[in-house]
Amino acid sequence: MSDYQAVMSRKAQIIRDAVGIDYDRFRTGRMTFDYEGMMAQTGYGLEEIIAIQRASGVGGTPLLEMRNLTQLSRATAPAGHGARILVKDEAGNPSGSFKARRASVSVHHAKRHGYPGVLAATSGNYGAAVASQAAMQGLPCIIVQEVYDSRGVGQPEIIEKGRVCEAYGAEVVQLTVGPELFYVALKLLEETGYFNASLYTPFGIAGIETLGYEIGREVIERYGRAPDVVVVTHAGGGNVTGTARGLAKAGCTATVVVGASVDLRGLHMASDRDFNRKSFTTGHTGFGVPFATWPDRTDVPINAARPLRYLDRYVLVTQGDVFYTTEALAQLEGLERGPAGNTSLAAALALSRELPTGGILVVQETEYTGAGKHPSAQLTFARESGVTVQLGDPALNVPGKVISIPDSPGQIQVRDFDLGAVRRSYLRNAVNHFGLAQVSAGEIEFLTEETRADAQFVLGVLQELGVECPG
């Protein structure tokens, strides 16, 4: 057996030791588990999480009204349309993104349970967030990143994230492209006994609930009613899940939750060749689609981020749309942020047009910008990687080949990704993963909750797939 196979065969035990949760106690059958029980029994209520975050300087970020971007949207909307756009300026968190919310709870948990350090396998803002929180708590930290292609050429955005982790005192392990990032992380967890600050634990997701909760409470207080729409940049699913759960806890049960991703369909995320042909390393369909159609592909046995349970709508924008929006945010609102975190803002410019002028639309994050993770850095890199950058209709974008930056705001359109197709795909994955030949009424109920579909839909798809269903 190779070392790779040997380590992977010990995965369950390594993760159990490194996360400290016995996931088996939430399992109720071969496929089913008690999701709400798992979320409730991990030891932290909303009030406690608010207290943990307050103590580490996380949360309470400003909710800013985008007066000029609202006008920009109204200028291209039908008469009487163009909802007020608000932005939750999450760049104000200690590490410059909403990920500090997740990390604060994970690192608090690690410290409380006496782990000697924390580890996270992430190439995104979450690494900076864990490193920052670990620095605050005085814990050693290791961040494992996927950075380079086989030529040793690195994504500038990820190189910056490595730099910032080192600035917070973390050890940064940088790898070439490949899913074996996880194997390296498992080996390190075994070697060090560190806590696995996974993005997908119940307490990591609970850390994001405060974001939805703050938005809900503040909008109600300021405008006397809940937001009509909240747009969430969707990648691994935690942002959607946590925000939607927090909105519900603030009483905003009728608010429409829209996920938005950058359309990178056609690029293979584990391909050495494709790796440097994208300008976005997160917030894109390469994560957004697989994590919605099958959440349990992570470093924990049951993923607490289950976006399909919460998405009302899923839309795509292009890389060009996001670069345009990033420029507009700086030029018209005086806020230099992103760019990847502006994916939801790009979608908001289009979605605002669908609502009347009295509507309220909230974009729930921004992220810090800097060397490497900046439109000029990323577009320069795109050009050097052979991608054509042009001004023109964003419909001409071809992931990995052409970035077409709109020359007028009216060109920004969202493309709806059919949630019915996502649900179908989820059900197919469930059937294949568990080898389902027949299902019980209880399992149908579970699948209905998982896909947020009605029982008729679930039954119909299962029967199409040849699964025997209870009459």
Partner: protein, 106 residues
């Protein structure tokens, strides 16, 4: 001045092959399977070594790690790239057509 030798306590970068080409995880795309999984880590040099020679480092987390010395006082090298004419045009257009503060457009 580019240093060719590292001494104990110097901040250095090491390189290591984690999985050889052909020993990659099953199901990686063909272009990825053909190349090794490589790793780089920065840390403080434990002992004197020349570029390209084996060395051990002490990492920021306190681990001792062996690899090949590939850089002494490694720099990040990323920046803001070059000005992007397309974005400059977008900026000029936005400011011309939509006047911040007045909430109206031409």
């Amino acid at each position: 001045m580019i240093k060719e030798r590292a001494y104990p306590g110097d901040w250095v970068r090491i390189h290591k092959v984690v999985l050889a080409a052909g020993a990659r995880a099953p199901a990686v795309p063909e272009d990825t399977a053909r190349v090794p999984l490589e790793m780089w880590v920065n840390g403080f040099c434990d002992h004197e070594a020349g570029m390209g020679q084996p060395v051990t480092i002490k990492t920021a987390a306190g681990r001792t790690l062996a690899g090949i010395l590939v850089a002494i006082e490694p720099s990040y090298g990323h920046g803001f790239g070059r000005p992007v004419p397309e974005l400059l045009a977008v900026a000029a257009g936005l400011r011309r057509r939509y006047r911040p503060g007045r909430g109206e457009h031409e």
